[in-house]
């Protein structure tokens, strides 16, 4: 779930935008460099962005009968590396806000931190760590995508908790509340996304 437009107080919206900026600018620099050396990579990067957008449009069934959409942050990070994902992820979030009404413009920074920075980096880190511990590609992908999905929603929960501290318990209580609503419920869906990641990479290696 993306934080909707207008949901965050102005100071928070600005703060998260500032926080996201260095990562997105870093990603943009990487893209500019890549395109200067290799003009055709514009099309490859565009295709990678389009794929990330479309990946989050895949409907995954859940055991409870409802369905969910993958975040795509983990698979994207493993495929395209986190710095590039910081930029592509932000472009995708902008498109989701404008084409699907998911998220918003003033909340783009906050959503970028969760979906394009924290999710990809932790997911990629978990993937590398798992591989370094001797696991194969598919277990690595599973851990990476599950961690990326969960980290994304944990970040969203923290962002909301900081904006809306609990009336009596303060920020810690608010963290517990939002984690309970936005992250705990996400665990089965994160496992689902992990399975999808494994099936995706298995199909890719079979090709």
């Amino acid at each position: 779930m993306h934080i909707a437009e207008g949901f965050l107080p102005p100071a928070h919206a600005i703060g998260w935008t500032v926080a996201a900026a260095p990562f997105v600018v870093h990603g943009a620099r990487a893209v500019v460099r890549e395109v200067r050396e290799n003009p055709e990579s514009t099309l490859l990067l565009g295709a990678a962005g389009a794929f990330t957008f479309v990946l989050s449009a895949i409907k995954l069934p859940s055991v409870t009968g409802s369905s969910s959409h993958p975040t795509g942050t983990g698979a994207g990070a493993i495929l395209f590396r986190p710095p590039v994902m910081a930029l592509l992820g932000t472009v995708v979030l902008l498109f989701q806000a404008l084409l699907l009404a998911h998220g918003g413009l003033t909340t783009l920074g906050a959503n970028a931190v969760a979906f394009a920075v924290v999710g990809p980096w932790t997911g990629y880190g978990a993937y590398r760590l798992t591989r370094a511990l001797g696991a194969g590609l598919l277990p690595g992908v599973f851990v990476g995508t599950v961690v990326a999905d969960l980290a994304t929603y944990v970040t969203t929960s923290l962002q909301l908790a900081l904006a809306f501290p609990d009336a009596s318990g303060g920020i810690p209580a608010a963290v517990a509340k939002f984690l309970g609503v936005f992250a705990l419920t996400q665990i089965p869906l994160a496992i689902g996304e992990g399975l999808l990641g494994v099936l995706l990479f298995r199909a890719l290696t079979a090709n």
Binding site: H2, A4, E5, G6, F7, P9, P10, A28, V31, V32, V35, P39, E40, T42, L43, L44, L45, G46, A47, A48, G49, A50, F51, F53, V54, L55, A57, L60, P61, A75, L79, L87, V91, V92, L94, F95, A97, L98, L99, L100, A101, G104, L105, T106, L160, F164, D166, A167, S168, G169, A173, A174, F178, V181, L196, L199, L200, R202, A203, L204
Partner: protein, 245 residues
């Protein structure tokens, strides 16, 4: 039929030929009002203005606008409820000013969301990308974004068709099968996206692509009347929003 209702609305909106800069001034102005003004009556005025403008002069189909609002509404509902539930005393309860806080949060968010939706349903993304360039975003990044915009429709088409073909062959008849089919679907679309990029690269090389994807910007002149009305309207909302609050 491109399949993204908001995008279809933007291309056929009565405001399609208006300058993207004009529409940005109006919509971002409304977004700022939604954020900065007190919820009552500021947010109400913003939401009302955005909705009336979209359904009235911009002629956005009400069904599209209504369906598009449902997404943010779901998040806003859950988020606002969570925010005003109080943890303490060994249980959950309502915070003292729960109704007021939830109302204010919802009002701000609904107002902001409708303001962005006004922009989204009247301005195709490809009209907004040149504005990013003017805001200092590097040309290479804007070009990547424009390729994303073009290719995502091509890939969405593939996604839908492959999924339909899988469904016809019972690929989504159980949760387990559906997962396996979705994995194959994601992989197939990824392979398509690489293939598309490679083929497009060849196709564009023949048209002399040396440096970038430069195209002729469309001339959508700014309207003084529109800008003046925007400023007057925003001024009125700010005045009413502060005086009546």
């Amino acid at each position: 039929m491109s399949g993204l209702a908001i995008d279809d609305a933007a291309w056929s909106s009565a405001w399609r030929r208006r300058s993207p800069a004009d529409k940005l001034v109006l919509c971002l102005g409304l977004v700022v009002c939604a954020l900065a003004l007190p919820a009552w009556p500021g947010s109400g005025l913003v939401a009302l203005t955005a909705t009336v403008l979209a359904l009235g002069p911009a002629r956005v189909p009400p069904r599209t606008f209504g369906r598009a609002v449902r997404w943010p509404l779901a998040f806003i509902g859950v988020g606002a409820l969570t925010a005003v539930v109080q943890v303490g005393g060994g249980g959950l309860g309502w915070a003292p000013d729960a109704a007021a806080r939830a109302g204010s949060l919802t009002a701000h968010a609904v107002a902001g969301s409708t303001a962005v939706l006004l922009l989204a349903t009247t301005t195709p993304v490809s009209d907004l990308l040149p504005a990013l360039r003017r805001l200092g975003v590097p040309a290479a990044v804007v070009e990547v974004a424009s390729v994303v915009y073009r290719l995502l429709f091509v890939l969405l088409d593939s996604l839908r068709t492959i999924r339909e073909a899988q469904t016809a062959r019972m690929g989504h008849s159980s949760v387990r099968r559906s997962y396996r089919s979705s994995g194959a679907l994601a992989a197939a679309v990824l392979v398509r996206s690489w293939d598309r990029a490679r083929r497009l690269q060849e196709g564009l090389a023949g048209r002399g692509m040396d440096t970038g994807l430069r195209v002729l910007p469309e001339v959508l002149p700014s309207s003084r009347a529109f800008l003046a009305a925007t400023l007057v309207g925003l001024g009125a909302i700010v005045t009413a929003g502060t005086v009546l609050a």
